[in-house]
Amino acid sequence: MTSVTVTPPRSEPSAFRAVLPQLVPFLCVFAVAMILPFVSNDYWALIGTRAAIYWVLVSGLNLVVGFAGHLAIGYVALLTLGAYTTSVLVAGNVMPAVPVFAALPIAAVVGAVFGVVVGLPALRLRTFYFAMSTLGFATIVTQIALAWQSVTGGGIGIAGPEFPAPFNTAWGYYYLCIGLAAVSTWISANIAHSRFGRALVALRDAEVAAEATGISKPRMLIAIFLLAGALAAIAGGLFASLQTYITPDAFTFDLSVLFFIAILIGGRGSILGPLLGTIILTILPELAAPLAAWSTFLYAVLLLVIVLVIPGGIAALLDFRNRRPLPSNRAILPRPAALGDIVRKRAGGKTLSLRGIALSFGNVRAIDGLDLDVAPGRIHGLIGPNGSGKTTTLNVISGYYAAKGGTMTLGDDALPPGMPALRAARGIARTFQTPRVIGEASVLQNVMIGGTIEGEASFVEALLSLPRHHRDERMLAAKARGLLGVVGLETLADVRADRLQHSELRFIEIARALMLDPDFLLLDEPAAGLSADEIDRLAALIKAICARGTGVLLVEHHADLIFAICDQITVLNLGRILAAGTAAEIRSHKEVVSAYLGA
């Protein structure tokens, strides 16, 4: 259950069977929650309700922390905000009183807005800086609640909202909160198992590759911050009602710690893990009185142990599937012939042209007046000694660097410099010198990420698991499986990518790039680290891709591979073109032979 998605279905009955083992633990937790009223007393109703409310918040926060990898440690701020918004609206001390079931959605909207405000720094800041900004927000929300007496009652506080019958008894309210917790689980699971969930993990573990597949970081993050903020504020409203009376003291930083640590103990990229983590952390202090006083200390110790001993959390402990050994003598056997069934044939026509591209790093001229044409359906080799500007050229084309001079055109349209996330939509896909795959996701999910922008369902459709979302998932999974067959890795589809060999990662990257049906494919040293046999198979694969109408730009050091498959070759040296021409011309070019190929 560390994996990001359940394996999407090819046909409905088998889909159910595939999902069932992953659903069972959730159904067990739900069954226990349903039975609880019949086997215990009101004291446990309180604890159960509290756990359910915490989970409403944590299920959203889990997408931020566990999936997107942003260390939001101050989420108690949004709980506070939701609690006060609901209480103030219901109490009617600022404007006419609102019924509680209308106040909750309003609080959710307010929470969503502030969720984005708190989250916005994450677009530029990572890790410690972002953690600090959420911590700072948590501090000021409490101070405002204390000081804004006319609205919040200051230190004296304000009465929490009361729910109408049948939710005004301990167990009635318990069932309401369990119901909302179940809905939150469903919503967050839908997102986690959609292309949005995969994109979040991609941004976390392979941001550069995610951009190359066209994933827009701001849009993704804003969407989940909206959702997480709304869920946190709803949890706040429920919390206020459970407390019956709220003061700023009720929202200690310890709560933030509980939410945050529940996710890390559960394991990132999992939903079941944080759910169990939330339940455990809520119950733990109730087991013994000393535990209650020392609860934060206990949480902190747990956090330290988790970080130092089992970074994967509960989810990694429960992940039995990925402990089975893989066959050691496996070979990559691509089947390029199958390509025709999967990748759209390109009409061709557009040429990718670079004219006079120049780029310097400080005083080093990395590229100096480069002209290059990649024609559709042709393989263009880019070779040269180390530091001659080959990868830099790829980075300029894919937008990671903005050239200081020169123009890039795709057919008749100019290709704007910079903006890597817009390249995928223009039909340009690429691989990387060091494979950038998501180690914690399965091979299939890694490939599916390549097709993120092909999906049609919106975030809300995915959230509610509407038909268009299912169609997307089926399409992406089928295509990804097909492409894994093309590159010869279909038997490894469900394996975690970090268990694979280097050469297999190279082929995953190619499959991921092909998900776009690219007009142009930029390959950065795809043969590095491959065996001689694998290089031959790679050559056949590249030729087959090219035969479908895709233009290939190949950066490589293996001269044999270059001369065997390239139609055109450009030789770079110190950022300048040393020679350009057909394979035969380059092979006999005197300067190239002396500078690079050797006699």
């Binding site: 911590l135 501090t139 000021i140 101070q143 405002i144 804004w148 949480y299 980075n395």
Partner: protein, 285 residues
């Protein structure tokens, strides 16, 4: 009022600056930002009050023992929360491990010391009004620390070794510098600086467990403004933050000053993620 703003602003600013320097001292040898920085300053106040008021020790003995206590906490930070996660620094596990340790320190302080702010004794007794020692002590402590650090870094072998490690860890190790011991030493030094911040600011902030989280944030703002690892930036940023915060405090009132500081923090970070005195961004692809 200008006098009050200047006095309290410079005092608070000096404390923030010292906490910022604590962050930087830990960062320089380990590339780790630690949530224990603010806690060390909190402990400076709590230890000082404990040694002098509870145990009745003289000021000098209380000061020395406080610094020793903070240095030990600094070393514990290195052993427990930093060293185990240095192997894969790129995973940023230190954010979590140092947070865990900081929470433990805070919780122990809350339970063993109490959750109410407790008084901190008068140390010297010179001055009154805006010249009260609670205002000028942190400033003097900050100046003395800066001078001491300058001397350490420029004139002593150990200090130069710190600089070498901060500049290029691999090269320094290749030269045979005892990187691990120097790192422990720098964490002890960070503990001492944090202790000085808390001790000198004790009369202003009192001995209060919740100061840790507060100083964690207010001490990090100067680091963010000044650029990570840049002590000069942290001092300027700290003083500026203190003045800004106290000006806002006197002019528009308490809550708005914290909102203003938070806004300043976010705006600076979004406009210049590497800080105003920081270096250029690293290469991504």
């Amino acid at each position: 009022m200008l006098g009050s703003i200047l006095a309290s602003g410079l005092a608070a600013g000096a404390i923030y600056a010292l906490v910022g320097v604590t962050y930087n001292t830990m960062f320089s040898t380990s590339r780790v930002m630690s949530f224990t920085s603010g806690q060390l300053a909190m402990l400076g106040g709590v230890f000082g009050s404990m040694f002098m008021l509870k145990l009745g020790l003289p000021v000098i003995a209380g000061f020395v023992l406080t610094l020793v206590g903070c240095a030990i906490i600094g070393i514990i930070t290195e052993f427990v929360a930093v060293r185990p996660v240095l192997k894969n620094l790129d995973q940023h596990l230190y954010v979590l491990s140092t947070l865990a340790l900081a929470l433990m320190i805070q919780q122990v302080a809350a339970i063993k010391w109490g959750t109410e702010p407790q008084p901190f004794p008068k140390l010297i007794g010179w001055g009154s009004g805006v010249w009260d020692e609670k205002f000028w002590l942190p400033v003097v402590a900050c100046a003395a620390t800066v001078i001491g650090l300058e001397y350490l870094y420029r004139r002593t072998l150990v200090g130069r070794a710190f600089l070498a490690i901060a500049e290029d860890n691999f090269a320094a190790r290749a030269l045979g510098l005892p990187e691990r011991n120097l790192r422990i030493a720098s964490y002890a030094l960070a503990g001492v600086i944090g202790g000085i911040a808390g001790f000198s600011g004790g009369e202003l902030l009192l001995a209060f467990f919740a100061n840790g989280a507060l100083l964690n944030f207010y001490g990090f703002v100067p680091v963010a403004i000044g650029g990570l690892g840049n002590n000069r930036g942290a001092i300027i940023g700290g003083i500026a933050l203190g003045l800004f915060q106290q000006a806002a405090n006197f002019l528009v009132g308490g809550i708005f000053s914290s909102v203003a500081v938070f806004t300043l923090f976010i705006v600076v970070l979004l406009a210049a993620p590497r800080g105003l005195f920081g270096s250029a961004t690293a290469r991504r692809v």
